[in-house]
Symmetry: C2
Subunit: 490 residues, 2 copies
């Protein structure tokens, strides 16, 4: 006789505890501004509060939820705080969270069309919507030879682009028998491209040494002439230039690589062009900001992250290819236990063949919720505010003789520093973040330690941007006083 077990959580209990979690989150949304943005926790401070062993018997839900408040909250860096200006945003919104809750609660697997047709079809459909919404090349639409898929991150999208390019360049020989160094496949990106390009090349067995970092101009954008010269030299040397990654908005400084000129070079050499617009792609919701995508028609693949700046909680990278068959043939493997009539009819897509993982959650739901809840116009309003405030902030920097802009600020990211040594700037950053009233991160531009200020959190208002600038100015003024021998506060 099988032993009996108590029901894990009845629908009625789920309703009660579900309400409690929703209440807790609504309350969190109200309080989030009151927490230090960057967690002040010391290493091991969370673990020190956790019991060494898992409980043998179940515990009351109320106790678990109370421990979120007591144990987890102090160890969080609040990415949903309106005072979060670090890295790139990973913003979110109510409709996204609730769409994601439905995905978790339905608990379906979208690996094959047959394992939940609506999951595949909604994903294809919403990614087609985004092509229109951002005015992306029509070649990315599912109605032609292209198509879109949700990946977990721009890093994974870059890896998939590299794999599709690798197989195209070697006519499938690499999947069959591995990378052949004699062919010397070479990849290219600017010195400012995201580290995921190099990581992807390592993963794909190409190696860092076969990535050429092309020099940039004074705006930190890739120089197409330098790209062409390098590719020509490499080809003369017998190598195969197979892949170019261009960036619409680099992570370091939001530099915009000239896609049109890069695209023409790629065409000339038969190299795959992947365009990474991880954060900045969202700007193309607004017609006046579509300059970031000029030349995107040349791209073989493209991605942007609704989970960065389009109010959709992580993970949700929208990845497009112009020839889906290139991607699928690079990634498909069909064992017997996954065969089914629908797939073999050829009438449906199985997204399992569009990325590395087999299983996949129903991520299109949250994206659908966000687009419908905001509407295209609503999304534009938010993006326009962020860009306006980013430019306003850049103006304040320009007007303050103690500070200097370190790069153009075409959208919502401003790179700047206090005049003087790197140490001063590093200490300035440390002090600002330690107040808990704002969170900024840094980069290095032209060799100099540079602060980054990125406006993109959903709930950020002008007052938060103003308060952050005041905090930066006051902290710097205090440091200048101290440096001059005065230790009293200004």
């Amino acid at each position: 006789m099988p032993p009996s077990a108590t029901p894990h959580m009845t629908p009625e209990e789920f309703r009660r505890y579900g309400y409690a979690v929703v209440d807790w989150l609504a309350n969190y949304q109200r309080r989030v501004e009151s927490f230090p943005v960057l967690s002040q926790a010391a290493p091991n401070s969370t673990r020190a509060l956790l019991p060494a062993e898992a409980p043998q018997q179940g515990e009351p839900f109320e106790l678990i939820l109370a421990d979120v408040e007591r144990i987890i909250l102090p160890g969080l860096t609040h990415w949903q705080s309106p005072n979060f200006f670090a890295y790139f945003p990973a913003n979110s919104s109510g409709p996204s969270v609730l769409g994601d809750l439905l995905s978790s609660g339905l608990g379906i697997q979208g690996m094959l069309w047959a394992t939940s047709p609506a999951a595949t079809e909604l994903e294809t459909h919403v990614l087609d919507w985004l092509v229109d919404m951002l005015d992306l090349p029509r070649g990315f639409l599912s109605s032609g030879s292209g198509g879109g898929v949700i990946q977990d991150s721009a890093s994974s999208a870059a890896l998939c682009a590299i794999l599709a390019a690798r197989e195209r360049a070697t006519e499938g020989a690499t999947n069959r028998s591995g990378v052949n160094q004699q062919q010397q496949l070479l990849a290219y990106c600017s010195s400012q491209a995201h580290s995921s390009i190099e990581k992807g090349l390592r993963v794909a067995g190409i190696g860092s040494a076969n990535l050429r970092l092309v020099e940039v101009d004074e705006t930190f954008a890739l120089r197409p002439d330098a790209l062409r010269a390098q590719m020509e030299e490499d080809r003369r040397g017998g190598a195969t230039p197979f892949f170019v990654a261009a960036t619409a908005g680099t992570t370091s400084s939001n530099a915009m690589d000239p896609l049109d000129r890069i695209g023409r070079v790629c065409n000339e050499f038969g190299a795959w062009l992947h365009v990474d617009a991880a954060m900045s792609g969202t700007a193309a919701l607004c017609p006046e900001l579509r300059f970031i995508h000029k030349g995107l028609d040349y791209a073989d693949s493209y991605c942007f992250d609704p989970h960065k700046w389009m109010f959709t909680n992580f993970d949700c990278t929208a990845f497009y290819v112009r020839e889906r068959q290139r991607l699928i043939s690079a990634l498909t493997i069909i064992p017997e236990y996954l065969r089914n009539q629908a797939s073999e009819s050829g009438a449906v897509w199985d997204y399992r063949d569009w990325h590395v993982p087999l299983g996949r959650r129903f991520r299109a739901l949250k994206l659908w919720f966000v687009i419908r809840h905001f509407g295209v116009e609503g999304l534009r309003q938010y993006v326009r505010r962020h860009v306006a405030w980013g430019r306003q902030f850049a103006g304040w920097v320009r007007d303050d003789r103690h500070f200097q802009l370190m790069a153009p600020a075409p959208l919502n990211l401003v790179c700047f520093r206090h005049v003087g040594p790197d140490d001063f700037n590093a200490e300035l950053l440390r002090r600002i973040n330690q107040t808990g009233r704002a969170y900024l991160t840094h980069t290095r531009l032209s060799g100099a330690f540079t602060l980054r200020f990125c406006v993109g959190q959903t709930n950020t208002e002008l007052r938060h941007v103003e308060a952050a600038w005041l905090l930066i100015q006051q902290t710097a003024a205090q440091m200048r006083l101290e440096a001059a021998g005065h230790n009293s506060p200004i």
Copy 2:
């Protein structure tokens, strides 16, 4: 002046709509048994209900939620139905869904320790708990040189294991300059191993031709003597056997590779041993079922999926390595904009370096909720029921002269077929699934079309297993009658 925007969803609205979604899900849980398990939707039937363009203006939340019912629901295959016996389960539970809701609502990024210390520390801690709970090798604990990390899927875990092994075998040369075919790295798994092993080798630039499929014994388990013979032959030929994937519970038939004997062969050749226990690992919660892990001490890496059989919604693969430095050095890349004091102190872990994606959501929350809500004993109760019912089902098959068992059924997966031709069995499966009252899938064993019946959904009770067996028997009887020329129902 920046334009104004209406608040996207106030905390009060979030509470109201959050309650509505919780209600909908509680109601879904009550109704789930009434839906056809396998969606009966035709290709394009979901898309046909969706407007061609995204709405320009936002829509009422009530309307969006109503469309989930109207448009999405008919296109779902119900993985959380107690009548789901297909593939491997992807089961879930209330506490998991609510822990995941917190993760979505907090919206933090756990890529670095500093970007939310609690996310990293809870993950490390809960994965240490699991080492105790499953009695895994102590070498996987974070307190030594090993450690655990949550990956999205066993496929991604396999890829990471391959990369760590590849870099160990080539002393980092592959990351630097790519795969060198002259070294001829060779990988091994049984002919029954999951397709993700071959896919991972393709991704990693090793290629399918460098994977040796080792023959299996009559239980479909890898034959260690055949493995050793193959590795010896390959080494004599100048190749480098670098990686072996063993499976504790194959996807096709739940075969258990003999880890201890395979491990000794790996030791002899200096090959990395990765053990994939994607579904079956959860069984080790029960001391009497730990035979599945006998010999696991030899493993360099290991994974199992709480998102398959441990009541935790996708995605949540627990991946362990014995020497974390091997994994980290294979996957780390540190650009300036991710540098921070905590990381450079060496006192913390940055999980970004443990997998391909950079960004990562707070997945440990749901796992923590599940373990605490059920308690170790509560989890065991459910697993024991599933195993008892799986064995009971295997007994019924054995006792019915029309059916035959096709493989041992050590846990909760039963592989069986109706005596007679493949066509009969394929049609039997089609008819069963078309009733909507149960969902099974198939595989091929010893060349024969074989039905798979896997008991693992959270809400499955004995009555569901009994009803499914009755349905199978009756459908087959009807088909036998038809074959004998009688077309009337039995």
